[in-house]
């Protein structure tokens, strides 16, 4: 179970292959990539700056991944999340989960993303022609997380 918070881009294909090939009894690999969109809430975005809380962010991600490993039969899980100044189509986050079976890989991957969205200390600031603005938290992210609590 590995968690990385980094400035640099990552090679999603290489990370996915590495986790897939790590165990010969792995049958299922689920992956998610989040990338910067050129438009958010109707406004054109030129750059997206991600701030985080060094020390706490890594711990929060690790706790989320551990919780997923308790709930589902995982062989491994990886989270890579970038910070700093990003542009449209830059990769923001990668989550990869491996498991004997697809249901566990899918659920764990989506669970990690839903918890990351509400519990990992990252903040986004968008810059566009009309200036800068902090991205507001979405209530849809809270409901996405709450789904997992009623199951």
């Amino acid at each position: 179970m590995e968690v990385r918070v980094q400035l640099e881009d990552f090679d999603a294909g290489a990370e996915i292959s590495r986790l897939r090939l790590a165990r010969r009894d792995t049958g299922a690999v689920a992956a998610f990539i989040g990338q910067v969109r050129d438009i958010n809430d109707g406004a054109e975005v030129s750059t997206l700056t991600l701030e985080h809380y060094p020390g706490m962010t890594e711990k929060a991600l690790q706790a989320i991944v551990q919780q997923a490993a308790t709930r589902w039969a995982l062989h491994d899980a990886l989270v890579v999340h970038r910070y700093g100044c990003l542009q449209a189509q830059d990769q923001i986050v990668l989550v990869v989960t491996t498991s004997p079976h697809r249901g566990d890989a899918f659920s764990a991957c989506e669970f990690i993303m839903d918890y990351l969205k509400t519990e990992a200390p990252f903040w986004k600031k968008e810059a566009s022609a009309s200036g800068e603005r902090w991205v507001e938290a979405r209530s849809s992210d809270d409901s996405a997380k709450q789904r997992w609590q009623s199951q």
């Binding site: 809380y53 200390p121 990252f122 903040w123 986004k124 902090w134």
Partner: protein, 85 residues
């Protein structure tokens, strides 16, 4: 007692503070009390900590509620709801 306070994102920008060492007056020993104490600095502090803004708090890297108790040497952080991913 002395603690470290960190501010992130919108808070850091509005307060023009990212971190400070703070000597807490007697009686200020919860997150709620610390927020009241900070609000009493006026202006941007008042605006941020008087309750209109959604604020999250963490003590020593763990998310906490406003009832959480602060101890000497703690690292207390304030920030807006998170928006990563």
């Amino acid at each position: 007692m002395q603690i470290t306070v960190l501010y992130f994102a919108r808070l850091k920008e509005s307060l023009k503070y990212s971190t400070e060492q703070l000597q807490l007056p007697a009686g200020v020993d919860t997150v709620a009390a610390l927020m009241q104490h900070l609000a009493s600095r006026g202006d941007a502090w008042q605006a941020m900590f008087s309750g209109q803004q959604a604020i999250r708090a963490a003590i020593n890297h763990a998310l906490v509620g406003t009832e959480a108790v602060i101890k000497a040497g703690d690292e207390v952080a304030f920030f807006p709801p998170v928006t990563g991913g």
